[in-house]
Symmetry: C2
Subunit: 120 residues, 2 copies
DNA sequence: CCGTATCCAAGTAGATACTG
DNA sequence: CAGTATCTACTTGGATACGG
């Protein structure tokens, strides 16, 4: 491949962007359809109120997620993927697929490495 | 897609694994062929000696990179991708491609968001 | 040349409490 | 129900120095 430097920088930026603790989980659930704030919170085990807010705000800022607030009492806010966000699900699914297929190999490699390291 | 929960967890694990500051850069350069430690260090601007060691050790542990040390003076250590590591470059390239195509849209979305936020 | 250890600054995320 | 602010613990990564 030509121009590894530039390709890597672009890739590194995306990875850095979505590589935090919660972003892929949020995207994954939104890829199934529109969800309310609390619906997401309940479907993503372990996420705090604060982190869900921050994660959604970041995705909204990047144009990957659309936010729609209804001026009702109590408030109701819906989130869904934008077309740009949906276009990201393809590449992510490819990576998820790789993860599923190669997890055993990874775990085996880790175990073998740790066994060798323990022999010191 | 069925089973979003499980797919996301697998995906989240890979992203967490390769989502640190240097891993994709190292993989990108190794995808071009075998390199010595210092060759990598000089090709990856900004990486510290320590972080390159840690990054390579992590990749080696997961079976993505192979390490070959020559008992010479001075020492010589070569790193290259394993077949497993090479299999990861496909999905990563898809993501890099997405990054290249959609960077302008991302930056535009960010600018628009920040402009709206500044209107408070 | 390559690897490791120590120290430390900065970033990240959880808990909690409060607001509209 | 959704969002914000504050405080704090933990993790990450850079600088530096030393060892094989």
């Amino acid at each position: 491949m030509e121009n590894v430097e530039a390709e890597c920088r672009g890739l590194a930026e995306v990875i850095a962007r979505i590589g935090d603790k919660w972003t892929v989980m949020v995207c994954g659930h939104l890829s199934e359809g529109t969800h309310r704030f609390n619906a997401l919170k309940h479907r993503i085990p372990g996420i705090s109120h604060r982190m869900l807010t921050i994660t959604l705000r970041g995705l909204e800022r990047d144009g990957l997620v659309a936010r729609k607030a209804y001026a009702t009492v109590p408030p109701k806010v819906e989130y869904c993927l934008t077309p740009l966000g949906q276009s990201l699900t393809g590449p992510l699914a490819a990576l998820a697929s790789w993860a599923r297929e190669n997890r055993p190999a990874l775990e085996q490699a880790r175990a073998a490495f740790d066994r060798r390291a323990a022999q010191d």
